[in-house]
């Protein structure tokens, strides 16, 4: 690495700084100064860590000894505690974070662009890859948006199955969060406990959809298949055991002095500011705002179930932990009620212009074969219009905005991912916090970078 890279503020000949240099040129062409983020990236890329240390020392010697210059430290994008490829350019004053600039986009895969070039039912497979810990929530929002444009009613049984799988997904997602957040703070054993149950939840997903991850179970019109034999027994066993297992995690953490010391009072923002920043989900409810789309705007029949929406008081990382633990308990209750009340009937709507015909009919019915052929090759046409449907994902409001021009492919497909929006709260939360607490705050927001970057 050339040592003179730091001489020029934007790094002459230093390969990493190309992006920053180009940005400066673009800014000059447009007759404006560098934006905040551009300046942060330029500064971070024009210095190696050694140079940053050297410069800080030089500044300390040269300047007034009372003056503290912030040290620029680049955290990520490859860092075990950033939950994926999140890059944070932090300005540190000793151990205190003065400011930070999140840089995202490292996992950007252009799914929204891809969706415009795929038929609606191919798009379902794509959206599962966004928030990869909540594939059921992604497909839930996407399918409901398409159904709203189609003006389609889905069978009651399909709604119940959607609720069951969404709640099972919530438990699995919270278990991943709990395990990894424990790991970051050195509570390593929690990880082994939570991943044991998470594996059982994935097994159940595999039973019903065939996939452990990125499950494509929800279909426009209902669910892809009915429940397989043995699924109900296995799921009932799972939810019967789960409360005891949650007690085990709580015994490890809820009264654990180290856990309390590390999470209490960390990452607090006033509720009004959280709403202004668009934060939803457990992070908002921990601050005492009772906003859960399952209650505020019930979908898929959530109004028929008896469950509580836990809310906190302090809004710190510890409250967010409590919210997620309680939500898992409530999810078990919802699943139990849904299994008890699971209506008879079809798992998918009987609309041959939208829904694939049953496999067995293809061998005997010419009409079914034609429908199948048309649906698979061309897809179904959706009336022109726009729809925005939001569901309560494990991380908050996950909305799907579809624009149709009447063709078989979405004209525009946008997903409002809660991870993307909640991540904006990181900067105000981390200002003035210790660097070690920054890791706790990132963990407590539970961002999935696949959802942030899409």
């Amino acid at each position: 690495m050339p040592s003179d890279a730091g001489q020029d503020a934007l790094g002459g000949g230093f390969p990493l700084a190309t992006e920053a240099r180009e940005a400066l040129e673009v800014a000059r062409r447009e007759g404006r100064g560098l934006t905040e983020t551009e300046r942060a990236i330029a500064a971070a890329e024009a210095t190696t860590p050694e140079e940053a240390v050297e410069r800080t020392h030089a500044a300390e010697v040269a300047e007034d000894p009372g003056v503290n210059r912030p040290m620029l430290i680049n955290l990520g994008p490859q860092h075990p505690s950033t939950h994926g490829v999140l890059r944070l350019i932090t300005e540190l004053d000793g151990e205190v974070v003065r400011d930070l600039h999140p840089v995202i986009g490292y996992l950007h895969t252009g799914i929204e662009k891809q969706c415009e070039n795929k038929t609606y039912w191919q798009g379902i497979t794509l959206v599962t890859r966004m928030d990869y810990l909540a594939p059921y929530s992604n497909t839930h929002a996407y399918c409901m948006a398409a159904e709203r444009l189609l003006g389609m009613e889905i069978p009651e049984r399909a709604r119940y199955l959607r609720v069951i799988m969404s709640e099972l997904n919530r438990i699995a997602s919270h278990l991943v969060w709990l395990g990894t957040s424990g790991l970051e703070l050195g509570a390593i054993s929690v990880f082994f406990y939570t991943y044991r149950e998470r594996d059982e939840a994935l097994d159940l997903g595999e039973m019903i959809s065939g996939d452990r991850m990125n499950s494509r179970y929800f279909q426009v019109g209902g669910c892809a298949k009915d429940v397989p034999p043995g699924f109900e027994t296995a799921l009932r066993r799972f939810i019967r055991r789960m409360p005891g297992r949650i007690d085990e995690y709580e015994r490890l953490l809820t009264q654990n002095q180290i856990w309390l010391d590390r999470t209490k009072g960390v990452g607090i923002l006033p509720p009004s500011e959280l709403v202004a920043l668009g934060v939803t989900g457990p992070a908002l409810r921990a601050a005492g705002v009772d906003y859960d789309l399952r209650k505020a705007a019930p979908y898929s029949g959530y109004q028929h179930f008896d469950f509580q929406v836990p809310t906190g008081t302090a809004g710190d990382a510890y409250d967010r932990y409590l919210m997620r633990v309680r939500e898992m308990r409530e999810s078990c209750r919802i699943i139990e009620q849904a299994l008890d009340g699971l209506p008879e009937g079809s798992h998918i709507a009987d609309d041959r212009k939208v829904v694939l015909p049953p496999r067995e009919e293809l061998a005997t019915s010419m009409e079914a074969l034609i429908h199948h052929f048309k649906l698979v090759t061309e897809g179904f046409r959706v009336p022109a219009g726009e729809a925005y449907v939001a569901v309560e994902s494990p991380r908050g409001e996950l909305g799907c905005y579809l624009v149709s021009d009447g063709g078989p492919k979405p004209y525009r497909c946008h997903v409002r991912d809660p991870s993307f929006v909640n991540l904006q709260a990181l900067r105000p939360m981390a200002r003035g916090a210790y660097l070690a607490d920054l890791i706790v705050i990132i963990g407590s927001l539970d961002n999935v970078m696949g959802g942030v970057d899409r």
Partner: protein
């Protein structure tokens, strides 16, 4: 308002009547489709409408989503969609604004809803719509030196050069 917009006089929604009374001419059109209310706003008056909707009685405190769709054949070309939600009532409304084909620009709503910051950066990155008064209008998904705006309809799906090929 409520869930599924209540219809007031002349078949107009209560929200439209409220806006017409206090900001005449700001709402250009109203569309109700599939239980969702969409208000088309005069682009110049977006900020006024935003401030009005944030306050009582509508109290749309949460800007749930902000995105854009590209219609190359329309005179306004870039159609922005603002999804608003009220935490208190659970009501929802969508604002629609056309940004214009040549030099697409609208006012930034960051002063009203700070959450718009990243949403507007994403729209700028993906569609090239500029937001007047945005505190930090920088690309967010694509690299800073990226050329073009990927979600425009005239941007090809494939065939881009492989990045970092100079490093091989």
């Amino acid at each position: 308002m409520g869930r599924g917009p209540a219809q007031g006089r002349c078949g107009l929604s209560d929200l439209r009547l409220l806006l017409d009374a206090s900001l005449p001419g700001a709402v250009v059109d109203e569309i109700e489709h599939g239980g969702e209310l969409t208000l088309e706003i005069e682009p110049e008056r977006l900020l006024e409408v935003a401030r009005m909707l944030l306050g009582p009685p509508s109290a749309f405190a949460l800007l749930a989503d902000l995105t854009c769709a590209d219609f190359p054949d329309e005179p306004g070309r870039f159609r922005l969609a603002y999804q608003l939600a009220s935490i208190e009532t659970g009501a929802r409304v969508r604002l629609r604004v056309w940004a214009g084909a040549e030099d697409p620009q609208v006012d930034s709503v960051v002063p009203v809803w700070p959450t718009a910051n990243w949403h507007e950066r994403e729209v700028y990155d993906m569609f090239g719509v500029r937001f007047r008064g945005h505190p930090d209008l920088t690309r967010i998904m694509m690299p800073l030196d990226w050329e073009g705006h990927p979600l425009r309809r005239d941007y090809p799906l494939g065939g881009e050069e492989v990045t970092f090929s100079d490093a091989v």
